[in-house]
């Protein structure tokens, strides 16, 4: 009796859930097509407004590459500068490694305190840390370099500081996300064992996060070697300065050598950090 009543009650509900609507698929297709058309139209409109011609742009690419290769290929005489280029590249790379590592240390401390999982329980402190990270991250590195040039003049420390400040902001942000995502179970477990705050941080928080933290740090080392080249242009130091020197004096072959050495360096660093990452999983 009661089962029957239940079945009767259930029936209309089931009917509603199984509504057959074949037109639904067509409506979805139409929506997708409309989306694609909208993107194409928007592109055309924007091109018209700013006088951009796609065909001309594509057509001129090969010529540009040919010119680049003809001028920037390092020549035999540019190799005379090789030792200078290498020395400056190494110095720039070491500078950015140092800036990144120190930024990472500061970032780890701040992000532990600011995380939602093992952070301090006083919410305003966590908010403040997030705000600081955000501010430093969102001021572009070039802007930092220009600002710092005024007070620290053209030297390696200015570049180091510009790298450090942006990296610190960025890493703190990445680290906060990493710590926010560690499982809370082990933390709860250690708490239930009677562990104190710092014991939990060092025995559960850091071990659970360390692989991701290192991975982000290595990523920033790679990015920073590239950025450091650019910063060197402004601060008149390192490989960026060497590049600028030869570039502005039309000695493109040596400028090309700088580019090649930098690329090789970045690739080597990337390979090394990939090995490091894999060994840490």
């Amino acid at each position: 009796m009661s089962a029957e009543a239940q079945a009767l009650q259930g029936a209309p509900g089931n009917g509603r859930a199984r509504t057959v609507d074949l037109a639904w698929f067509r409506r979805r297709q139409i929506r997708t097509i409309l989306g694609v058309v909208a993107v194409v139209v928007a592109f055309q409109l924007c091109s018209m407004v700013c006088n951009f011609s796609l065909t001309y742009a594509i057509g001129s690419v090969p010529a540009a590459f040919v010119w680049m290769f003809q001028n920037f290929i390092p020549t035999a005489e540019s190799l005379a500068n090789f030792s200078l280029v290498l020395e400056q590249t190494i110095s720039t790379a070491l500078d950015s490694v140092a800036a990144t590592v120190i930024a990472a240390i500061v970032g780890i401390v701040l992000s532990v305190l600011g995380s939602s999982t093992i952070g301090v329980s006083f919410a305003p402190v966590r908010g403040l840390i997030r705000a600081i990270a955000s501010i430093f991250r969102n001021i572009p590195m070039i802007a930092w370099a220009l600002l710092l040039l005024l007070s620290f003049k053209q030297n390696e420390f200015t570049g180091f500081l510009a790298l450090f400040l942006t990296t610190f902001g960025q890493l703190t942000r990445f680290f906060l996300d990493t710590f926010d995502e560690i499982p809370t179970g082990p933390i709860e477990a250690l708490k239930s064992c009677g562990a104190s705050y710092w014991q939990i941080v060092f025995q559960a928080g850091l071990p659970l996060a360390v692989a991701d933290l290192m991975s982000w740090m290595l990523y920033m080392v790679e990015t920073n070697i590239r950025s450091a080249t650019l910063i060197g242009l402004l601060t008149g130091t390192g490989i960026g300065f060497v590049f600028n020197l030869y570039y502005t004096s039309f000695r493109y072959d040596t400028a090309g050598l700088v580019i090649v050495v930098t690329i090789v360096f970045v690739l080597v660093i990337e390979a090394v950090s990939n090995v490091a990452r894999r060994s840490m999983i």
């Binding site: 709860e188 064992c193 009677g194 562990a195 025995q203 360390v210």
Partner: protein, 294 residues
């Protein structure tokens, strides 16, 4: 009594006590826990059963104050721990171990490191943070791993162990605390039947051989009936039953899980009488089949 719980309550929406009655009456929000009282003696095996959301986990976590209760008193070892400040709470917590459904091991560390975590409550901040354990503690950790049958897995990382093995590491970790009470939150919910039995057997052995009191949340009623000295039924945050396994008849179980007002129990001993005819009990047993046919 080792553990005495009186009128324990937890509500999330009304932190201020003077508003409590008003909130309960007007909003009608069920409190996570209300008016739960029970005692646990040394070496007792108590299981808490009840439907999902009945407050079983909240109850267990209130006992070691991972969750702060809003009402009631918890007496542990002759001492009111309900409002102990942090420093002294740490000292109490090391005597109340806990094991979890998801094992909650630090999965990137080895089994032996996880077992040693049980000592953290006894160590100062620096030694604990750096993982500097004494030789005695290390030897004891290896002993305990051996005891739960995982001696050869000491250097294996926790994420490479099977579910049953992880739970046994969890048990070894809690024994490392030299606990008087062990709170077990759904310890076998993620395990296969064989591992489940192994874990339950281990827990029972602890109560018998070491006199540790086990309070276990369970979903598996059959296990509860088999292993418990005493069973507590929890529904909608309230204790609706307490009795031995023998007293926990199918009708009682139904009343705990379905909340049939007529067979609700006040005096556990009289329960089987009040439960009604055996036909009703039979109907309960047959229900899964009818449910499947629908």
């Amino acid at each position: 009594m080792l553990l005495e719980v009186q009128d324990l309550g937890k509500s999330y929406d009304a932190p201020r006590r003077r508003n409590k009655a008003a909130t309960d009456a007007t909003s009608g929000t069920p409190r996570a826990l209300s008016g739960v009282s029970f005692t646990a003696g040394q070496g007792e095996f108590i299981t808490v059963i009840g439907p999902s959301g009945a407050g079983k986990s909240t109850l267990l976590r209130c006992l070691n104050r991972l969750i702060e209760p809003t009402d009631g008193v918890i007496n542990f070892n002759g001492r009111d721990i309900t409002h102990l400040p942090n420093g002294r709470l740490r000292k109490v917590r090391r005597e109340i171990a806990m094991i979890f459904q998801n094992y909650n091991l630090v999965y990137r560390l080895t089994a032996i490191q996880n077992v040693l975590h049980g000592r953290l409550g006894y160590k100062n901040a620096l030694a604990g943070s750096l993982g500097l354990y004494t030789e005695d503690e290390k030897a004891r950790a290896f002993e305990l791993l051996d005891e739960v049958g995982l001696g050869e897995f000491a250097y294996r990382r926790a994420d490479q162990l099977s579910g049953g093995q992880k739970q046994r590491v969890g048990i070894a970790r809690s024994l490392m605390q030299d606990p008087k009470v062990m709170l077990c939150d759904e310890p076998i919910a993620s395990l296969d039947p064989k591992s489940s039995r192994m874990v339950m057997e281990t827990l029972r052995r602890l109560t018998r051989e070491r006199g540790i009191t086990c309070i276990v949340n369970l979903h598996q009623v059959d296990f509860a009936l088999e292993y418990s000295d005493r069973i507590i039924g929890l529904r909608a945050g309230e204790k609706v039953f307490e009795g031995t396994a023998d007293e926990t008849t199918p009708a009682v179980i139904r009343s705990i899980y379905e909340g049939d007002a007529e067979v609700m129990v006040d005096v556990p001993v009289e329960m089987p009488e009040a439960a009604g005819s055996p036909i009703e009990a039979g109907a309960f047993a047959a229900e899964p089949a009818t449910g499947g046919a629908q």
